[in-house]
Amino acid sequence: MSAITETTARQEGPLPETPETPALAREDTARRHRALVLPRSPKVILGVVIVGIFVILMVVGPWVAPYSPSSTQFAASLHPSAAHWLGTTVLGQDIFSQLLVGARATLIVGFVAGLIATVLSTVIGVTAGYIGGPTDDGLSLVSNVFLAIPGLPLLIVVESYLPAHDQSNSFIIGAVIALTGWAWGARVLRALTMSLRNRDFVEAARIIGERRARIIFSEVVPNLLAVLASSFLFTMLYCIGAYVALAYIGVTSTAVWNWGTMLYWAQANNAALANQWWWFVPPGICIALVGMGLALLNFGIDEFINPRLRAAGLTRKVVRRSRLSNRPRLGLTPVLGRPA
């Protein structure tokens, strides 16, 4: 609004320098601060804690498991006890050991698949969004087709055609899952890239004559990082779900211990009808907890991207403490110090 911009005002400098003036600098540090400090909402902290615990479990699980998960050395269908924290299966296997050992395969497949899918979706989405034109049309079409095909049935068909030794290979299974999981991320990243492409700083880089690859990697992708992270978490969530489902239906090798195979054996032995809740409940809860952790982390990223989702400025605690005439509501701005 003022005819002179902030920069020129600084250069001209006829103004008396005062300690309060550099509002711009203050704003800058504030912004940098925001970029570094993760949102401190309890939701996000909970997410970090949950995901952290499971990552540790993924690493150390097989080493700390008290018994071999496949060994049938114990009495069948034991209730949880001090010796067997989660009881045993009808075959006399220690369920707690299965759970610990299974964490690794479950999470690694989810992680690998999520990573491959995110790389795919970034390459395809950013290329389509940045280059546009027929390239975009083609790539968008491919992603839309992949979005429309229901993933699990396709996965089942593909996985069941895999040779038996591949059905127990975490990386191959992960790659196949990734093939069905990249399209959503690609669509999101494409839309975002398209909006970035027309922003001033990208335009400027283009006018200067920067190479396209350089613009994409140094100007566009850094601005996508938050969304990319969110897309990765989301995709990983999907991939874990898909892997567990495949294992549960018995398409992947039932000899590889993961939470899905645990559920497969529980279902095959009618654990639910036999009331052996300790068999199938723990893996299910673990899957849900991992999912919850990832989703809560995602909240943090979402709130970072879209400040409107952040808990509103007037928290309930503050509102209760001050004498407001009413709870803040749309169209009813509170008034201080008035009786309600």
């Binding site: 609004m1 003022s2 005819a3 002179i4 911009t5 902030e6 005002a9 001209e12 006829p14 103004l15 008396p16 005062t18 309060e20 003036t21 509002a23 711009l24 203050r26 704003e27 509103a312 400025g313 007037l314 503050v318 509102v319 403490r321 001050s322 407001l324 005439s325 803040p328 509501r329 749309l330 169209g331 009813l332 701005t333 509170p334 008034v335 201080l336 110090g337 008035r338 009786p339």
Partner: protein, 431 residues
């Protein structure tokens, strides 16, 4: 503003506008009565709202004046020979009054003070302009006053009153800050309507234009039948120069100017006494802007509503408004009649603003602008907030915040120590 109003009347009205709010509270509300609603005796002649005023013999009363002035309002006396057309304003002339209003963002020690101790008075049938740079708090002021401000906005003090006077009804005073949600809902749009900056965002993208009107009429005019509502919508749309067959259109099918016209028609649908316009023309091109302003002036002439017009474009206000208040960093720094403000700005900030925009008419001024930028609300300088940008800053400005005080005539006020009589006033602020 002198020359049209009787001096004593002006004085009376101005005392209301500028005096401490306590006095008004006592006369209007009675001490210690927070009642949101009460009746006041009818003392002034009824202002016709529903009917088109009689054309004044000899005066181009209904002609849309491109100068933004019309009967009763004041500009250059030479332009309107011998006209004193509106009923003489009396003490009850206020229709919307903001006293000592303060608005914060957030609560407690970290709260940002977006508006501090603002007084404004909108007179019946007049146009009050509120000018200031973005971030000066002008929008916050009116949204807070109408309780439309979103969180974390909080009204931290002051009072806002609507003096409702409708034909065939007893006059009433509504205290907006104490009103219940239900009461607010009742007076919203029927007494006070608001036009937002971007009509594209203000109209529901999935509704037809007709249902926008229909919703308003259904909510406030229960007695109207479906058919009457549709007729009324068509009538309103025609009134702002849009063909009634556009009623079936959706907002995205209209141009920016048309959408803004629709918003204006919508704002007038219930013949409110107060219309608040928040930068209604900012998103439009200059030609459309001009057309809309003229349309507004014409409508105001015919319908007689009072208008609070917010813009950063001071030269537009000079054309349009009867009275102008200038805001800086949450405070009102100068207030005067439009022509007075234009001819003789008293606050250095107003002076700078006037030199940032080319005037729409009249002599061209040298464009200088104001060095620097408005302060961050979180770090408003101590003393006078404008001091870091002020060319005439004195020592005193860094320690004390100047109050809005009357200058040369009761209807001109400025908040600047230059006019305290201690120092020589610079030439351009003494014209």
């Amino acid at each position: 503003m002198t020359g049209v109003w009787d001096d004593d009347v002006v004085e009376a009205a101005d005392v209301r506008a500028s005096s401490a709010p306590a006095g008004i509270t006592e006369t209007q509300d009675g001490p210690g009565m927070p009642a949101a609603l009460e009746t006041v005796p009818e003392t002034a002649p009824e202002t016709a709202l529903e009917t088109v005023p009689e054309p004044v013999p000899g005066g181009p009363a209904l002609a849309v004046s491109s100068r933004g002035r019309d009967k009763g309002a004041v500009v250059t006396p030479s332009e309107r020979p011998g006209e004193a057309l509106l009923p003489a304003p009396s003490e009850d002339d206020a229709v919307f009054e903001i006293c000592d209003l303060s608005i914060d963002y957030g609560l407690g020690p970290g709260a940002l003070h977006a508006v501090r101790h603002a007084d404004l008075m909108l007179r019946r049938g007049r146009v009050l302009g509120l000018a200031g740079e973005s971030g000066s708090g002008k929008s916050t002021l009116v949204y807070g006053a109408t309780r439309l401000l979103r969180q974390p906005g909080v009204v931290s003090g002051g009072s806002v009153r609507l003096y409702s006077r409708r034909r065939g009804e007893e006059g009433r005073v509504v205290d907006l800050l104490a009103a219940s949600e239900r009461e607010l809902r009742r007076i919203r749009w029927s007494e006070i309507s608001v036009v937002l900056q971007s009509a594209l965002n203000a109209l529901n993208p999935v509704s037809t234009i007709e249902s926008e009107f229909d919703d308003v009429l259904k909510a406030h005019r229960r007695e109207m039948s479906r058919k009457t509502r549709r007729e009324r919508a068509a009538e309103l749309l025609t009134m702002v120069g849009i063909n009634a067959d556009r009623l079936r259109d959706h907002p995205h099918e209209l141009s920016g100017g048309q959408r803004q016209r629709v918003m204006i028609a919508l704002a007038l649908a219930l013949e409110p006494q107060v219309v608040i316009m928040d930068e209604p023309t900012t998103a439009l091109d200059v030609v459309t802007q001009r057309e809309i302003i003229e349309e507004l002036i014409g409508l105001r002439d015919r319908l007689g509503f009072a208008m609070l017009f917010i813009t950063h474009d001071l030269s537009l206000l000079i054309e349009l408004a009867d009275e102008i208040a200038v805001m800086y960093a949450g405070r009102i720094v100068e207030r005067a009649g439009a022509s007075t403000l234009y001819r003789s700005p008293r606050h250095p900030y107003t002076h700078g603003l006037l030199n940032s925009f080319p005037p729409m008419h009249g002599e061209t001024r040298r464009m200088t602008g104001i060095p620097g930028s408005p302060p961050d609300l979180a770090a408003v300088p101590a003393g006078c907030a404008f001091r870091p940008r002020c060319l005439y800053a004195m020592e005193r400005c860094g320690t004390e915040a100047p109050a809005l005080v009357p200058l040369d005539g009761e209807e001109h006020e400025a908040a600047c120590f230059l006019h305290s009589g201690d120092v020589a006033v610079p030439g351009e602020l003494a014209r």
